[in-house]
Amino acid sequence: MMDKQQANNVTEQRGNGAEAQYIDLFQQCRQMICDHSSPVMNAVRDEAFERFKALGFPSKKVERYKYTDVQQLMAPDYGLNLNRLTIPVNPYDAFKCDVPNLSTLLYFVVNDEFYAHESTHSPRLPEGVVIDSLKNVTSSDSPLSTVLSAYYNRLAQSDADALTALNTMLAQDGLLVYVPKNVVVDKAVQVINILRSDVDLMVNRRMLIIAEENAEIRLLFCDHAADDRNFLTTQVIEVFAGNNAKVDLYCLEETHAKNVRLSNVYVQQERDSRVRHNIITLHNGVTRNKLDLTLAGEGAECVCNGCVIADKQQHVDNNTLITHAAAHCTSNELYKYVLDGKATGAFAGRVYVAHGAQKTSSQMTNQNLTATKEARMYTQPMLEIYADDVKCAHGSTVGQLSDAALFYMRQRGIPEHEARTLLQVAFIREVIDQIELIPLRDRLHHLVDKRFRGELNKCEGCKLCR
């Protein structure tokens, strides 16, 4: 309901005309876009285009975009790779990327293009599991293609969001993860998203993740920018967790100051399913992550965590909406930020407990450290409850490091700078400790430590392995 209101607002507040170039682009290149994509993806393109035209980019007066100026971000003229020129790189050779001791099934997506393993090296997946190019799978005549057409864009189209509409109208490829009923993928799946280009580039990446009844999968997305170019990525991820399914989704961003990331994640959880969404921003330029998660079946449970380390002029905005649509569901949310330099952070979290969603248990926490006077943090935890038998809590804090703790450490001989680093690492530790993928947790402790020491200044391919 609120989204419709928002949509109306948006139309009234049409902005600086940044939409025009994308409208022109689509009208001129529609055929080329479709030729290099698949029928399933093409089927929803025109509708998305109409929606995008109606919405326009949100101004900062639109509630869920008040902390990130999308109109300004969208104004520059980026190149797009619509006719799918292949970038001459074999990522499996170029990026030796691995989390030590974490035996993962490794895949690469370069810009928005899935890179298949050479067939001889292809990892063995359990029977029926598909990890492949979204375009390729939905182009084929396989029965799966029909299944997918029922899922693709289902969650996204119910959201009146201009960025999602833009992504839907322009996206040509991306990743599909499909885990059929009763199948458990033991090994974690690691997907490295690499931005690669010799010119400034806009990427519209699409991901569809389906875990059917009783299925289990753990996914780790690592985003990197391999070239020193201006990149703008729109990303839409749709996640379906069937009855009793378990999906872990870890998203780690390590890009650079010239990167703009606009990611919209939609999750739908059926009865007794469990989803963990953990989003980690270590290095970036401008990042906005939106998460819309619906607990649609009774007994569903989600953990939505995030940690942000930002300095210089970095901007990180996490915007979440968790909808308790059914009774007996649990949601836990913990976001922690450490902001240094002139960084700005924003967290807006809304928990919506629908009428009849009794016995809801919900906890939302946002804690932030600002290390300088110039760093800015905006925090907005919101609870909206229409059921009368629930347990909900929300809270947020913004503060500085404890002077008493700093002095205690210095008295023991730990220099001030080192003491600060230890305290900042300790602050973030609470989020990292909740990661259930132990080798990833260990690796992140190490990366976070390096990040605070300034030894992790820019992304060099995949820092995770070096």
């Binding site: 450490m409 008295q411 023991r412 001989g413 730990i414 305290l423």
Partner: protein
């Protein structure tokens, strides 16, 4: 070891130390006693360089060096240690990591190589025994969830790890039961060498029965008003501080009369 001359210090506009003079020789243990609010904790805080306090006058020479010119961490590296009256909890920083950083920073300062992980663990196990600290506590975050007694024992454990030349025990006995106090006192005595000195700040003489001071000072209204041998502690325990306060008042009165 330590030479404090005419030390004045304040917090905000309030002057708390009003001219402290104190000399501690190598190997000596000094007790500083005094009623609440007399400036005992301020003195220890100023010596270790707590930035909350501002020194307005005076100087402190520590082993021939100007102590007040040094950063708190360098004072620690030079061998100064404070056992805090209220040890700070630091959630998320494991005890072992905290101590490893402290020990290795000191070694760096002294030009020694860092301890290897196994050497450090061995040292920790060895020193834990001194205060009967459970190994589990050492694996937890610094002081987090420790009981009062555990926190104080943890302070002495850190002292054992860092091997200071001058230790200040700020009301280490407060809130301890007799057994815990015995463990703490035995730990302190075990660490004592003819080269190391100690300042024991306390309200009570119970601790001084176990850690025998060479000299006892009474601090009152920001000044040391009485200095004597260990028998002074006993006397204070029996008679309280009033006789000293009254003595000072009458002395002041007689000065007043004399000047008329």
């Amino acid at each position: 070891m330590l030479e404090v001359r005419n030390l004045h210090a304040r917090i905000g506009e309030k002057e708390i130390l009003k001219g402290i003079n104190l000399t501690i020789k190598d190997g000596e243990t000094h007790a500083i006693m005094g009623p609440n609010g007399s400036g005992k904790s301020t003195l220890s805080a100023v010596l270790v360089g707590n930035p909350v306090y501002e020194v307005t006058e005076g100087e402190v020479i520590f082993n021939g060096k100007d102590l007040l010119a040094m950063k708190p961490e360098d004072r620690a590296h030079e061998g100064l240690f404070l056992s805090f009256q209220y040890p700070i909890e630091i959630p998320g920083v494991p005890m072992s990591q905290f101590l490893k950083a402290a020990v290795n920073e000191k070694r760096k300062y002294q030009g020694l190589p860092e301890l290897k992980a196994n050497e450090f663990l061995k040292l920790m196990r060895e020193k834990q025994k001194i205060v009967q600290l459970d190994n589990k506590l050492a694996n937890r975050s610094v002081n987090e969830g420790f009981s009062g007694g555990e926190k104080k024992r943890n302070e002495i454990f850190q002292m054992a790890m860092l091997e200071p030349t001058l230790s200040i025990l700020d009301e280490t006995d407060s809130g301890l039961d007799v057994d815990a106090m015995r463990i703490v006192a035995e730990g302190v005595n075990m660490l004592k060498t003819p080269e190391t000195s100690c300042i024991v700040i306390t309200h009570y003489d119970r601790l001084l029965d176990m850690i025998r001071p060479d000299v006892v000072h009474v601090l009152y209204q920001g000044r040391i008003v009485k200095t004597a041998g260990p028998e002074l502690a006993q006397e204070i325990q029996e008679k309280g501080y009033d006789w000293i306060k009254n003595g000072l008042a009458s002395a002041a009165a007689s000065i007043d009369e004399g000047s008329r």
